[in-house]
Assembly symmetry: C4
Homo-oligomer: 346 residues x 4
């Protein structure tokens, strides 16, 4: 059954919820602790008021940008999320097809239900990155990086904010445990309570090593401080992904919209900047771009699209956001991303 055409991403959420097992839904929807950070992410975007410019010719709005030399039709990115088979039987294959149809760079999670090569083959030629939870053994980690590069993934987004899983209490109450997917070795260390991957010993040295073995750009995902952004750049990272893991790691963490400005200032153009966390409207993306992000990632709404409509649903979700951003740029007087400047928000 084709779901009814949604007008907003919010319209997709109840459709997805109805299509999923309650515990799996809660795994996707929930955050750590009291979910202060989930709420804080949303509130921080909404505190930013827009200052539109008028009388600019916006008959053609061009959202084109690029990432590491790859042209992108718009700056919207699919954030990595785990185990898409919870949302749809086609899993990441559907996400890849829908993302490609929507022109969105897709970041595939290490915790995928399908091998990265199959996902790549599902949407050949479309831009894709691989998110990495590095296996404990360096050989295994290097192997994943090489496989990703070989399969055409354009960058490695190394998650740096998951030494341990956050206290996701919805899962503790439901007993839900996500499977660790097809990419991690069988002997990868996991959290005994949740079965989730853990990376407690990972340090800047490991990141430097990963950078040294990666033939493709490396993005540090999960940065919330200017000093960590600076260090990531010194470590050789090509991108900084400002994220609090969708409020799933340290509850009470600063909202990404609040952390972004100091990081943009510290990076000072030396790396690509992404941000995610509570982006639900085109104006949120516009706010993020105004603050200096190069790309804007969205996680849960893609899953809402996937659960409610497979590849078509993913395309629909991303299409809603893309259309909203395009309209928001037009209404703000920005025919291209060049005009999306810091003075657009206050």
């Amino acid at each position: 059954m084709t779901p009814p055409k949604p007008i907003t991403l919010a319209d997709l959420e109840p459709l997805a919820r109805a299509a999923m097992e309650p515990a799996a839904w809660d795994y996707y929807a929930g955050g750590a602790g009291d979910e202060l950070t989930i709420a804080g992410n949303r509130a921080a975007w909404d505190r930013l008021r827009l200052r539109p410019r008028v009388l600019v010719d916006v008959s053609s709005v061009d959202m084109a940008t690029s990432a590491f030399g790859v042209a992108l039709p718009h700056p919207l990115v699919v954030a990595p999320t785990a185990s898409h088979d919870l949302a749809h039987p086609d899993g990441e294959l559907a996400t890849a097809r829908g993302s490609a149809a929507a022109g969105a760079l897709m970041t595939l999670s290490t915790i995928s239900s399908r091998p990265m090569e199959e996902v790549a083959a599902a949407a050949p030629g479309s831009p894709r990155w691989f998110q990495l939870y590095p296996p404990s053994e360096r050989d295994a980690a290097a192997d994943l990086v090489r496989r990703a590069a070989d399969a055409g993934y354009g960058a490695i987004a190394v998650t740096v904010d998951l030494p341990l899983p956050g206290n996701r209490e919805r899962d503790l109450r439901s007993g839900f445990a996500v499977r660790m997917g097809v990419h991690l070795p069988a002997d990868q260390a996991v959290d005994p309570r949740t079965g989730l991957v853990v990376l407690p010993t990972m340090t800047w040295d490991d990141l430097a090593w990963l950078r040294s073995v990666s033939p493709i750009p490396v993005v540090a995902k999960g940065i919330l401080r200017a000093d960590d952004a600076q260090r990531a750049i010194e470590t050789g990272c090509d991108g900084i992904w400002v994220s609090n893991h969708g409020g799933r790691q340290l509850d009470g963490s600063i909202a990404t919209a609040d952390a972004l400005p100091e990081i943009v200032e510290a990076v000072d153009g030396r790396a690509l900047i992404l941000v995610d966390g509570g982006v639900r409207r085109g104006i949120d993306a516009l706010r993020a771009l105004s603050l200096g992000a190069n790309l804007v990632a969205v996680g849960r709404p893609v899953l809402w699209g996937l659960a409610s409509g497979g590849a078509d649903g993913v395309e629909r979700a991303l299409g809603v956001l893309r259309s909203e951003l395009e309209l928001a740029m037009a209404l703000a007087g920005c025919p291209t991303l060049t005009e999306v400047t810091r003075d657009l928000v206050v």
Copy 2:
């Protein structure tokens, strides 16, 4: 049936709603997106606290002012709104009569159900402006300007914040499409999804051209930034209308009360300043005047009056606001608008 005498504008809203088709009501009431800006406009006025002066003789409060040499008994203006036939069979004729009876300058929308000449004839001698969505063809635009001048409209308020219609989701859900009225050419470009006029190519050059062909003053309506206000003056505009289109264009836009001070400072007396957005009480108008607006416009409440009581209802709505402003000025120690100074608000 004569509606019961309202004490406040808020009393009129449910009467109007009951008198209208639901989808037409939603067209009037709704805003873009999550209607953040509608709520933000209201909240911004209420954050401004008044600092009344005492022991001033206010036995006679004179609200008289003027606009482009035309004397006005008070600074309250009817903001342009579309298709008054949705609210009352007499449409803009009733609005014109009620506005004239209340001594309010009326701004007629391009998207009118009645020709501007008929509207002018309905209230001869009363102050009126014409709001312009410029037709794509310059000849047609110049023709509208000339017609307005010939019909006694005292200024052209050119809308500059509608390159495309905002995402008014109530209308998308209800399927409501307002008619584009009697003034626009049949071949005027419209938005395919909403049927609304679009002006995506309009630039400062078009505004300069319009100024050059207009025999009457030109006001730029929809300015939210000091730099745009400065540029409008450089382009020859005689007035700056601070507006976010009642929250119907870019959701998340700065509240007009928050944008007004920087614009007042930038304009520095070189142009007439109007403001609209969430004005529902005489104290809102007093706040706006204290921040430096010369005239204060009100949109939806006029429609509430129109829908609930035709011309009499319009007069009643504007009368409530005028009486409230008069009392607020008296209680703030302001016998004339000269005493309404910046230090009245904090």
Copy 3:
């Protein structure tokens, strides 16, 4: 029937409401417009956080103060309110007796149901002031001042914030009109819509004249700005009463707690300072004293006491507040008012 012993002033409110006619209750309870200022007064006190001092001997807390040379056991004052016969058949006589029993300076309103001499006789020897709405004719005004001085009233609190009555919409809806009491001449100008006294022509010259004819100190009641406080002192006033008329005049007016600091700074010890507005707890009085008020007045809660228990109820209400203030001073480390300093609040 004796009402149950209240623990807090809030306990008295429903008792009083049950004892009164609804329209009279609304006259007492209501404010102007949307009652923003009523809510704002309360919120402003609660924003002030206390910084208690420890290890001070507070075995004896002495709240003694004075006003114009008259010793007072504590700084709590009965604010003037109209027509106490609406709350209790003994009217202002009961209020006077209860105030005297509680050791509170009572301010009798011009709009009293009993002549000031009878009220004075009801509580001989206890401190009292007379609140003045000056009659239009100076002879009548001077006569009221002289009568008050002759009857032992220690000061005249001239209301300066009522050029016209505020838009008290509860009364407009209920049709309630308070009687103008026994002190004003029959030909006193009143508001045609509400029947309330109006003083639209009163100016600083009238205040100066009143000061010149008054044998007793004059307090300007209704000041919300430092410049007006300065002018009142220059006009010869002996006291400044910071008030927004309990939120009954200009809705949206600054909260008294927010206006107080700039006025305390401007007065700089040259006049007695009172404040009222939303004082409902001993900690509110402590906050006001910390900000620099010399006396703290309370209006509606006295009426709650009066309506729920006559003179005993007034004593009870004031007793609750006095006990709370005494305890608050002890817990804040203040054995006398001398220790209640600006650094107690933040």
Copy 4:
């Protein structure tokens, strides 16, 4: 019946409430006045946003700290609360056993249902302090101090914020009066209305004298100002306990999270700093430690554990908090308390 294993401290609250007499519950749960400070304590922690560091090896998180030379496995402290027999028949014996099992320093209240020697014997060798309400007679006070030192209590936490009991209105309404326990002399002064201990004459001189007679360190408990912290150090105190008595003394007092920074700055390392007030999550403890507290105390949640499960419940409550703090430290990039620095919060 063993209570179900709680996931959060909030899970324990309803279990405890169900296990207790309503009036005793209210005695524990309630605060002074309108309980503004109870709410304010919570809100102040949640306003502090965390700025986690990434890529730190947190495979081993060591929360070890010390207090006055005594090693502690973690910085969580049991705040003193009265009369544990209200929560469980084993009273403070159970609390001592549970605290010891959880590795938490326990502070025993003077108002204990069991003699301090029995409590010490219940958990031999575990760290404990004694909270002191000094008896009026210095001999009796010195005797309690000596008894505590003899029984192995490592410090005396002298309560300095209770000259009189706060207005705890839940108790006034329920008629509940806590017993004054086994340590105070029969002739100790009590508040006539509540039966609670009062210390209205206690001054800095008394604290200096107590310090002089105490063979063990003395902590001033109930400090909310930098100047009082400075004076406590000058008086010889070894520790400063930032507390507003759980919102039970002066309502409207500053939140402890808001008072802590100025006190940390004033103390400047010269004394041990504790803080309590609304700590309900590991992230609250992390916030407190980031602001400069050395130890973080928790009161009511220990009682929730005690009421719901005796010694096991206390261990469980403290265990939840300890696990949450450990995880929060790991997620914030802090393998030891040394890394918990001021820049972690904003």
